[in-house]
């Protein structure tokens, strides 16, 4: 009997056992699959002046395996902690089964958490760790005083043993938690959470501390547990492969905002923007221009594509997956001619870097072309994904503080101020190529931290975060490392100023 069969048999028995006990029936309306069990409405969370989550709304359907995916610092763990109750939102409300919960303390919420580092109580053995929640829990019992009673010793023992059996640690009850391996501690942490029969199980990067083999095993086991238990799982990870393997729905987060919510396949095939495309798997991301419907131009070539609905000559991002590029030897038949720079065997395919039209394409293929080989690349319309550019220009609010001096983002920049007077409030438009980054923070007018660096074909698009909590996008030929501190300079001649009229701005908003 395999491990999974065991789980199944335990659970089938389990359902029969607990079915006649009316005490455990859900209190609220009958559970319907498909309705939203969690509703997050307009959540904003600010830590020490830094906005971690920005007016975020999300609905999570009952019984789904939902993954919050994003780079570190994107706010995914904060979102989980808000649901668990360890943080209170600065703004917004969270509902579980229609009940607002932000003012309910964590110990009264129908959710349980599997912590990143397990957080098993070191002074208790495995059995007592798992029993911790049950000993505190009250069950409805009309015959008892006040209609509630605690679990009896026998009930606790039975439930704990069943949970330990489910995670494959049947005979470990008496063991000291510190004597267990990482994988076993992980299982105890899961048993401790699910034994409380939560409506939603929250998992905070639970597999991060395990080695690769163990992690793969636990991925499959967790997925199985989700199917067997039938409760909602919310899983936080920064590992895109993990997210795509396990989830029903993936929520991609960045900068405290949702970038895309979709099924794993759709996230991979149809990323909504360059960030998602870059974060989910290897991608070739280029800047292009939409000439007209179904025609895209990039790297000096016009190619047919399947997208429409963009403005004429609108600047867009083009994403091409490495496995979608057809590579062939020789100089004919393809859209781009190039030379192979490197080739690496990746187990089932070769990953090659091909220099063509000044762009380094990443290409995956079963056939290998050695470095130095002349090749031709073909890109079919279907595999060209067109995405709207999020921003095409930096826009900041500032004020004229002197002749040819404008202050914004916490620094005074040299910008021609003809036609403006000192004290004027202005909107400053800074094109991406007007910004220059300096290695030494002191060489710039203001300091900032690099938060994102995307290769866009012939240049890198870098995003920096200023100390005044604002973003700058820069087009540059250099690659900048994430989290590096840099200085920001601006070429004033390329900057456009516009008088800021608060009333007009209000109207525009409405």
């Amino acid at each position: 009997m395999s491990f999974f069969d065991k789980i199944r048999s335990i659970f089938i028995k389990d359902k029969k056992d607990t079915a006649p006990a009316p005490a455990e029936a859900p209190v609220s309306a009958p559970a319907k699959k498909g309705e939203n069990i969690i509703e997050i409405k307009g959540i904003t969370k600010v830590f020490d002046g830094v906005t971690v989550l920005d007016n975020l709304s999300l609905g999570i359907k009952r019984g789904q395996f939902v993954t919050l995916l994003g780079p570190s610092g994107c706010g995914k763990t904060t979102l989980l902690r808000l649901i668990a109750g360890f943080e209170t939102p600065t703004e917004g409300e969270i509902f579980i089964e229609g009940v607002p919960i932000t003012s309910i303390p964590p110990y009264k919420r129908p959710v349980n958490t599997v912590f990143q580092k397990y957080a098993l109580f070191p002074h208790l053995n495995v059995f007592k760790n798992v029993a911790f929640g049950l000993k505190l829990k009250k069950v409805k019992d009309p015959t008892a005083k006040g209609g509630e009673r605690k679990y009896t010793k026998e009930e606790i023992e039975e439930k704990v043993n069943r949970a330990l059996k489910l995670v494959g640690l049947e005979d470990y009850g008496h063991r000291d938690v510190n004597s267990l391996s990482g994988g076993q501690q992980q299982r105890v942490a899961i048993a401790r959470a699910i034994v409380c029969e939560p409506k939603v199980l929250l998992l905070d990067e639970p597999l991060g501390a395990l080695d690769l083999k163990m992690r793969k095993e636990m991925q499959i086991e967790l997925k199985k547990m989700h199917e067997d238990l039938g409760i909602t799982f919310i899983f936080v990870t920064h590992d895109q492969e993990e997210a795509l393997t396990m989830s029903d729905v993936v929520v991609v987060l960045n900068d405290g905002m949702i970038q895309q919510i979709d099924r794993p396949k759709k996230i991979y095939d149809e990323p909504k923007n360059a960030f998602v495309a870059d974060f989910i798997g290897e991608s070739n991301i280029l800047s292009g221009v939409m000439e007209k419907d179904y025609v895209i131009s990039f790297l000096g070539k016009s190619l047919p594509c399947v997208d429409k609905g963009f403005e004429r000559n609108e600047k867009v991002d083009v994403v091409i997956r490495p496995e979608d590029i057809k590579i062939s030897g020789g100089k004919e038949g393809g859209h781009f001619d190039g030379v192979v720079l490197t080739s690496v065997f990746k187990g089932t395919y070769y990953e090659m870097i091909v220099l063509a039209s000044d762009y380094e394409f990443t290409v995956q293929s079963q056939t290998e072309y050695r470095p130095g080989t002349e090749v031709s690349l073909e890109i079919v319309p279907d595999s060209i994904h067109i995405m709207k550019k999020i921003l095409t220009i930096n826009k900041h609010l500032g004020s004229v503080t002197g002749e040819n001096a404008v202050t914004f983002c916490g620094g005074e920049f040299e910008i021609p101020t003809e036609g403006f007077e000192v004290g004027d409030e202005v909107i400053v438009y800074v094109p991406f190529d007007a910004v220059e980054l300096t290695d030494d923070e002191k060489d710039g007018v203001i300091g900032a931290a690099v938060t994102q660096s995307l290769y866009k074909g012939t240049y890198y698009q870098v995003q920096v975060y200023t100390d005044t909590d604002e973003d700058f996008y820069i087009d540059t030929s250099d690659e900048w490392d994430m989290d590096d501190r840099v200085g920001v300079k601006i070429d004033g001649s390329k900057v456009r100023l516009e008088k800021y009229d608060p009333d007009a701005a209000e109207e525009a908003k409405e």
Partner: protein, 270 residues
Amino acid sequence: MTKRKATVFRPTAFSFPYLAVTLIFVIVPLILVLVYAFRGEDGGFTFDNFRQVFTEPETLRQLGQTVGIAALSTLICLLIAYPVAYILASNPFNKMAILALLFVIPMWINFMLRIFALQSLLSMIGIGKSYTAAVIGMVYDFFPYMLLPIYTVLANMDKSYVEASRDLGATPVQTFFKVTLPLSIPGVVSGISMMFMPIFSSYAITKMMGDMNTTVIGAKIASLFENQNYGSYGYGSAISFVLLVLVLVVMLIGNAIVRRTEKAPKGGKA
């Protein structure tokens, strides 16, 4: 590879100075105490000194009073220090280590000066030399020794334990008694041993703040050694030896408790 010549400076060589210091200032005095304790007035081997310790009512009373005053001051100190440490280690204050420092700064002031100051303060509010004053003196003087170990344990405790407890349905009060308190036992035990044991042998505080009836065994030992009569060295040594054994027993009990709560090293195997 050729065999290397034995180097002059092996790592163990660095421990020789410490060994010498230990030998001269710890081992030799201990042996001296033992020798005196078992030497009779005639210079021969005897148990008389120990017999005297356990039969003289005055000595037994003082021994009892020493245990009593040490236990009482330690208990009071613990009851005050734990909540203070808990508050200092909790979120809003944790960032200001300076607050914890405030409780430690008095330690930098001369001990006698502190006691004199406290004594005048107490007499100003009408508490003269008495048992109460002596206990207050002890609590005041040893407070940092109790506070620091507890504060350190609480401040370094992984906050996720508390979160896990609340997540599993424990109210803040339940969380404190089921998780925080048990996990802070090592700090408490270390605080107790840091305070309980020194009080055993300290007599300056009781001498200056206590009344005639509040004397501790340390004072008795001191008076025996200050006495020019050569014979009282043996009696004094015997009492010292009994104290030493008592302290050892307390230490062993403390260690046993700590070992029970921290069975394995933190973190465990990955």
